[in-house]
Amino acid sequence: MSFQIILFLLLLILGYFIGSYLEREHYRSIKLREAKYNKLPAVASKLLPPEAESFEQRLVMGNVTISVDYFKRFLATLHNFFGGSVTSYETLLDRARREALLRMKVEADNLNASLVLNVKYETASIYKGSGSGVGSVEVLAYGTAMIPKQLEA
């Protein structure tokens, strides 16, 4: 019994410190890359621009899976008990969406796209229903990359 309590506290403390360190680092990297790829707009519009004929269209996507740490999970259990917003999962989903979008932009950038249209997100929770397993969230961002056609030489 006491062993279980010690293990639980240890996981909680480790989860908190390692989890918040990784989160901080992730946000720093996200902000840097967001600034870097800001030149490549990604919009939700479905409409093709009038000059679409001079673009090649290609599907691009970015996918990420982020796991929740033990501390966040326990906090979410407490949130579940009382109701209200599950604030501990908010940063997790925020990071996953932004990371997925960034990865999509990286792919578009590699194709020399100048714009990504019709951007959409899909989310899925992994380990759903596994009970005591620590859950993770998967986010897929996809869109239509608009690649300017190379002028024939």
Binding site: Y16, A35, P41, V43, P50, L78, S88, L93
Partner: protein
């Protein structure tokens, strides 16, 4: 057409509250909810349990029949005779029949449980200096039976464990389920003090004085001092022996009971009986 992604302001999709602050608030809230519900369940459970008819309690206690000694020993006869004397002094109803069990183990303990079953351990009996202290011990345990403390305690434990199981999902019910019937019973300090008083009252009726009765608490005091880890009085369910002696001394003075009479000795063969079981 010109498209652009302006930089997204931070903190729109995430809460600013520090996770540790949220954690502390929620945890404290949970503890308060659990404490209040435990208290309510405990009060409700013990109230309902006190309404259980004694005949039903006896049916629950049938499991203790396995502790009935195969043969009646002189020791058991002697202890049972003392218990019967105390029972009639306490004017127990005939239905509340007290059964004394002796356990040949070096544990300084004695307890009363449902169905009027009283368990006395060798470890404690061999430390008692006279018959009056032994009678006080038996009277204290019989008083628990008379006050219906064992069934109340079980009802309280069962209500709390069932409630917690519903509330939290997975609590080990084994602790209070079946094993709890035997030794996990916890009497409150009020129950103990009340039983001390009723017990001493019965001892006075049996002997006409209370000389030697308080020697029991001196023994209990010595026992708890010899144990290296003594629980602080607030957490220990038995009020510390010095407090009990003080409370009972006040009672003795109030009632003008005689205390200066030398106590009855234990039978000569008592220690031999104890080792024979």
């Amino acid at each position: 057409m010109k498209y652009e992604n302006p930089p997204i302001p931070e903190g729109i999709n995430t809460s600013r509250a520090h996770p540790l602050k949220t954690f502390l608030i929620l945890l404290l809230g949970l503890i308060v909810v659990l404490a209040i519900s435990t208290w309510l369940l405990g009060v409700g459970g013990s109230y309902l349990a006190s309404k259980i008819p004694y005949s039903q309690e006896k049916r629950l206690a049938e499991a203790y029949a396995q502790y009935d000694a195969a043969t009646r020993t002189e020791l058991l006869d002697y202890l049972q005779a003392l218990a019967d004397k105390v029972s009639s002094a306490m004017q127990l109803t005939p239905e509340m029949k007290i059964t004394v069990h002796y356990i040949d183990q070096d544990i300084e303990n004695a307890f009363a449980t449902i169905g009027g079953n009283i368990f006395l351990y060798k470890g404690l009996l061999e430390k008692l200096p006279n018959e009056n202290a032994l009678t006080m011990l038996i009277a204290h345990e019989i008083a628990h039976v008379r006050h219906r403390d064992p069934i109340v305690s079980i009802g309280q434990g069962a209500a709390i464990s069932t409630g917690m199981m519903l509330l939290l999902g997975s609590t080990d019910t084994g602790i209070l389920g079946s094993a709890g019937l035997l030794t996990q019973m916890q009497f409150s300090r009020e129950m103990e003090s009340r039983s001390d008083e009723t017990g001493l009252n019965a001892v006075e009726k049996v002997y006409g004085h209370v000389g030697g009765a308080l020697d029991l608490y001196q023994v209990l005091d010595a026992v708890s001092e010899s144990n290296l880890v003594e629980p602080p009085p607030f957490f220990s369910t038995h009020p510390i022996s010095k407090t009990r002696i003080k409370e009972l001394s006040v009672l003795i003075t109030d009632r003008n009971w005689r205390q200066d009479v030398s106590p009855t000795l234990l039978p000569k063969q008592f220690s031999i009986w104890l080792s024979e079981g």
